[in-house]
């Protein structure tokens, strides 16, 4: 059997396990109707204003930097695996590649994208 079918089986089993747990709980848990119980929890007070508001932009800049670095890693892993076969030229090329990305990190740092304000 293919390896990936096995992985898929484990993923489905994870869903099934959680579904059984939640389902079992749904069957036996007590039910009491109470309007106040279904209110949003906020230390006893009614909530004021909408909750789904706009984010602090700082979260977005971190996410952007993350995406750039995540793509970099995509290229670093295959390079690391075939390190010995690639020899010296592979080493130099990858160092240039990493250097360009470090330059990007340095620029983000300089522009204050890494500061939490």
């Amino acid at each position: 059997m293919s390896v990936w079918l096995g992985i898929l089986f484990f993923i489905l089993a994870g869903f099934a396990f959680s579904a059984i747990g939640l389902g079992l709980s749904f069957l036996i848990h007590p039910r009491s109707k109470n309007r106040f119980k279904l209110e949003t929890y906020e230390c006893g007070l009614p909530t004021i204003g909408p909750t789904w508001v706009q984010f602090k932009t700082q979260y977005f800049t971190y996410a952007l930097i993350f995406v750039i670095f995540d793509v970099e890693v995509l290229y670093l892993y295959p390079w690391a695996v075939s390190f010995t076969q690639l020899g010296f030229s592979g080493l130099v090329k990858m160092f240039i590649f990493i250097f360009i990305l470090v330059l990007g990190l340095w620029y983000a740092w300089k522009e204050g994208a890494l500061e939490w304000r």
Binding site: I7, S18, L22, S25, F66, L76, F83, L105, W116
Partner: protein
């Protein structure tokens, strides 16, 4: 004899199934189910035990006694807690996005379980021997971020939303040093397979060749599992319980289970990558390989708990600054040095 007890019992079963001429796909399926049951049992028993251990360790550090009422030495405490949680009502707040609210606890346990499928628990004891091992770990582990964010967003609660945003910022930032620190090890081994990485440590463990990577990995792993000093996500004193504020009963129990499964998982990965996995230290092979594996994992878990009950929580700007300004540059420098070192000395 003890060494091969699991492998040979599985082989015996395979032979038995061949003897009764079970069709091959059905036999494969049955083997997979047995492996799944074993891993699920392993995770559940260890998660129950880890909660108990955490409470005992914290009690020891703080000079208390800890749970000691339910069962001998309080050993049944967490089992009873789970039974209590099952019988509690699952409250879905009127304002919540109901589908996502229920989907999050349904999915949260999937990534850890799927990763445990490729963990080599002992010599030849990986349920699925995956060539992509470490890469698969990275891909699967990052899914947890989305699921916790789902919980935070769908609750429609201000604390939950704040906690959810912190989860995304923190886990995404610390994923970078985590991934980069593993590359040093992969340069040395030239394989992503977890068994291959362990066998490459026959002579010397990678903690001695990659001390910087190991340190970065441990710090980032603490942040990835949202444990103190990086537990801003569910800082009880500021945002109640973060994304899990609105969850009750079994929904909460699954988040709790997943948290401890993740603690176990990062300890397992640390053991595999840096501490020689199931290899016996000093050639002490009189104890079976799976014993050594569990032993090392528990030492790692104990270190995580020790850190948790020793350090205070850090501030959010310190948290993000530390990841991007210290750990990422350090991890990149480590890749540089490892690459140069391997080229100069080993090839």
């Amino acid at each position: 004899m003890l060494e091969n007890i699991f492998v040979s019992s599985l082989n015996w079963l395979k032979n038995l199934m061949a003897a009764v001429e079970l069709p091959a796909p059905l036999a494969d399926m049955l083997i997979l189910v047995i492996k799944l049951a074993a891993i699920l049992g392993f995770i559940l028993i260890n998660a129950l035990w880890l909660v108990y251990m955490e409470r005992k360790v914290s009690a020891f550090i703080q000079g208390r006694i800890g749970p000691n009422r339910v069962g001998p030495f309080g050993l049944l405490q967490t089992t009873m807690d789970v039974l209590k949680l099952i019988s509690k009502e699952i409250i879905i707040p009127a304002a919540a996005d109901k589908k996502l609210f229920l989907l999050a606890p349904l999915m949260i346990f999937v990534p850890p379980l799927a990763i445990f499928a490729i963990v080599p628990f002992g010599k030849g004891m990986a349920a699925i021997d995956l060539n992509l091992g470490v890469y698969y770990f990275v891909a699967m582990a990052s899914l947890s971020t989305v699921i916790i964010w789902m919980a935070g967003w769908s609750s429609n609660n201000k604390y939950a939303l704040l906690g959810g945003m912190r989860v995304v910022a923190q886990m995404v930032s610390y994923e970078m040093p985590l991934i980069l620190s593993m590359i040093g090890v992969i340069i040395l081994t030239g394989t992503l397979n977890m068994n291959g990485i362990i066998q490459a440590q026959e002579k010397v463990w990678f903690i001695f060749l990659q001390p910087v990577a190991a340190t970065i990995y441990l710090i980032a792993a603490l942040a990835e599992t949202n444990r103190t000093p990086f537990d801003l996500v569910e800082g009880e004193s500021e945002i109640i319980s973060g994304p899990f504020t609105e969850y009750s009963g079994m929904g909460f129990a699954f988040f709790f289970l997943a948290e401890y499964a993740n603690v176990l998982l990062v300890s397992v990965m640390a053991t595999t990558l840096f501490f020689g996995g199931w290899l016996a230290p000093f050639g002490w092979t009189f104890l079976p390989s799976w014993f050594w594996f569990i032993f090392k994992v528990y030492i790692m878990v104990f270190i995580f708990m020790w850190v948790r009950w020793t350090f205070p929580r850090i501030r959010v700007d310190q948290l993000m600054g530390f990841a991007w300004k210290v750990l990422v540059p350090l991890a990149i420098a480590n890749i540089f040095l490892t690459g140069l070192g391997k080229y100069l000395f080993l090839s």
